[in-house]
């Protein structure tokens, strides 16, 4: 027996906005019969392009129905800008709470909303991005990473509760653990996103990293480093203090400074010394 909040029970037994809007502006369909839950969300825009009406159809358990009902109530009256900021946590909050094992129901709601908005904007249906990690439920590494990041998940069980990955045969548990580790450790996967850094952001991040991470370490040995310029992905620096005369300075530059910058800024960086 699940411990459902009164609000979940209410939205399950008296769901709001059941149905389909025939001339909908946006349609989002997620989930499948095989997965055990599915949601079809339709919305209609009104004045000022705010969501005037939203309806849902859901196949699933009580919390899936309640999450869908809550979602339609939440988004009514919102502009699309506002609606696209709705997270699964907003749905959970609206319902009071959801049992941990049922969090994926709120994620389903968020996913349907995203799809419906994309559908309205005429964006072609989102391709499956990333690589499939969980074969049983067809969950990709990017979806898992997102759930970990947004909900601060730390165990395989958490990941299963939120996005179902790992809830079937269990063969992907090792891979999920790797993803969790990399997200919580040095976040090497964040690099991919930083490719979109603008020049100014990149330079700022390099400066910060130098100041916060690298300079203090060098100063311990009486050395220092100065940023001269950033040309594309080439970081031009000048070594100071003891570093300037140290025979191992090239090793420091490549093995330490460049590694650190690649890790924390972007993997494309090359560090060169200005003579």
């Amino acid at each position: 027996m699940w411990e459902y909040s009164e609000k979940v029970k209410d939205h399950f037994l008296n769901p709001r906005n059941v149905g389909v809007i025939d001339d909908a502006d946006g349609i989002g369909e997620v989930g499948s019969l095989a997965c055990g839950d599915a949601l079809k969300l339709t919305f209609k825009l009104g004045e000022n392009r705010r969501i005037k009406d939203a309806k849902f159809q859901t196949f699933g358990c009580a919390s899936a129905i309640a999450s869908s009902s809550a979602l339609t109530e939440i988004i009514k009256g919102l502009s699309l800008r506002e609606a696209e900021k709705i997270t699964n946590e907003d749905i959970v909050k609206y319902l009071g709470d959801l049992p941990k094992e049922k969090m994926h129901c709120s994620v389903l709601g968020r996913d349907a909303l995203e799809q419906a908005i994309a559908n309205y904007r005429g964006e072609t249906e989102k391709k499956v991005e990333g690589e499939i990690v969980c074969e049983c439920f067809g969950v990709t590494d990017l979806e898992i990473e997102r759930a970990i990041k947004e909900n601060n998940l730390s165990t395989i069980e958490d990941v299963t509760d939120y996005v179902k990955a790992g809830g079937g045969c269990g063969n992907c548990h090792e891979r999920i653990q790797e993803i969790i580790d990399s997200m919580h450790g040095k976040e090497p996967r964040a690099k991919r996103k930083s490719e979109r850094l603008t020049n100014i952001k990149k330079i700022k991040l390099i400066e910060e990293t130098l100041d916060r991470e690298i300079k203090p370490a060098l100063k311990k040995d009486g050395g220092d480093i100065e940023l001269i310029d950033v040309d594309g992905n080439i970081v031009l620096v000048k070594l100071r203090g003891t570093c300037a005369t140290c025979s191992a300075s090239q090793v420091t530059l490549k093995n330490y400074v460049e590694t650190k910058l690649r890790e924390l800024v972007t993997s494309e960086l090359v560090v060169e010394e200005v003579q």
């Binding site: 055990g36 599915a38 159809q57 859901t58 196949f59 358990c61 899936a64 049922k102 079937g168």
Partner: protein, 390 residues
């Protein structure tokens, strides 16, 4: 609100007669049956009587009965005993539809140096008997096959199977937890070496089980301790519950006919009316060979937990093989093994009746269920689609 309890394969009400027998053994006759004094000795006598009652319902001898703490302990004891007393054999045969008590133990063995064959079932849950026979080898330590399935109610031909397996001198164990009291069992007419039972599935208390061990079967205790149960299961006896299970099985023997007439008729009425009143429903299980109290029905395009919770609003208690009810994400392994399509597996409901159910209760369910299914289908995106595609 009245409770309408049709979840008797999960557990049952303790019969009033059973409770009456048990109560004095908590604070009136609380002696240890192993003691030398009369106060304890009298308790020992009651345990002997209980053992005899259990033996009678099985067609066994009292010394072949060992009391355990539950059906799971009986299953674990039986399979471990067979494995331990046949150290040179590294193969186990079981089915794909066993209760977790057997399934998960066998999976454990398969990860620890054993080869395990899981015999498949067909769409009605019937066992692939040829597959079983083809896989018997000289390396097989034990064959463990449930007598009847708890979810579908499908009964396996244990008399026939156990005899054939016996001819190969392989230990045969059966989990008869759901079967006892519902169909006649006479171990003397089978090749069964070990058989597991539980008290709470048949109006006895929870926390008590039975393991039948045929005389001459090589055995090794799971719980090693005192001399209790002839050295086959250590630990001071769960006196009140042993007396309770004895009484429960005595009653069960008397009620066997009622289970197969009155209870069966109620089950049939429930099933027939549901099929008649609700479209797109499927019976899971073998109507020809099924426990008289069980029906497992799939309502296509809706999800089981939602059905259960809506029935709960009317006090109706049943079970589902859907993913959501178990906390796991996949529907029951039994329905999957039977190849029940996903459209139906998630929306499966098991009704399991008992002699305490009345016709009024069944009529109440028949009245309340159709609008629940209709309402959930109205909410389901797949119901629309299924109507469109015909």
């Amino acid at each position: 609100m009245n409770v309408i309890y049709v979840d008797n394969n999960a557990t049952t009400m303790v019969a009033p007669e059973v409770l009456d027998e048990m109560l004095p053994y908590f604070n009136e006759f609380y002696g240890n049956p192993s003691s030398m004094h009369t106060f304890g000795g009298n308790v020992g006598r009651k345990i002997r009587e209980a053992r005899e009652k259990v033996a009678i319902i099985l067609g066994a001898a009292p010394e072949e009965i060992v009391f355990t703490s539950c059906g799971t302990e009986s299953d674990s004891t039986a399979i471990r005993a067979a494995v331990l007393s046949n150290p040179d054999k590294k193969h186990i045969i079981t089915t794909r539809v066993e209760h977790p008590a057997v399934k998960n133990l066998c999976e454990y063995f398969s990860k620890n140096g054993f080869r395990v064959t899981f015999v498949p079932v067909d769409r009605k849950g019937r066992l692939d008997i040829d597959y079983l026979y083809e896989n018997l080898t000289d390396d097989t330590a034990i064959v463990s096959i449930m007598w009847a399935n708890n979810e579908s109610g499908t009964i396996f031909p244990i008399e026939e199977l156990s005899k054939t397996v016996k001819e190969r001198e392989i230990v045969f164990h059966t989990d008869a937890v759901q079967t006892i009291g519902k169909i006649p069992i006479d171990v003397s007419k089978t090749g069964v070496d070990m058989l597991s039972l539980s008290g709470h599935k048949l109006h006895g208390p929870k926390g008590i089980g039975v393991l039948y061990i045929r005389k001459g079967t090589k055995f090794s205790p799971f719980i090693i301790g005192g001399h209790q149960e002839g050295g086959r299961r250590g630990g001071t006896e769960n006196v009140a519950s042993i007396i309770g299970i004895g009484k429960a099985f005595e009653l069960a023997k008397e009620h066997l006919v009622k289970e197969n007439t009155r209870v069966k008729n109620l089950r049939d009425k429930l099933e027939t009316e549901i099929l008649k009143r609700i479209p797109n429903t499927i019976i899971n299980g073998d109507p020809e060979n099924r426990l008289p109290n069980t029906t497992n029905i799939s309502f296509e395009y809706v999800e089981g937990e939602s059905i259960l919770l809506m029935m709960d609003e009317f006090g109706i208690c049943a079970s589902s093989g859907s993913a959501c009810t178990s906390g796991s994400l996949e529907p029951s392994h039994v329905l999957r093994a039977m190849g029940v399509p996903f459209t139906a597996a998630h929306g499966s409901i098991r009704f399991s009746l008992s002699i305490y159910n009345t016709e009024e209760e069944i009529d109440f369910i028949i009245e309340k269920l159709p609008p629940i299914i209709e309402r959930l289908r109205e909410m389901s995106p797949f119901w629309d689609e299924s109507k469109m595609t015909g």
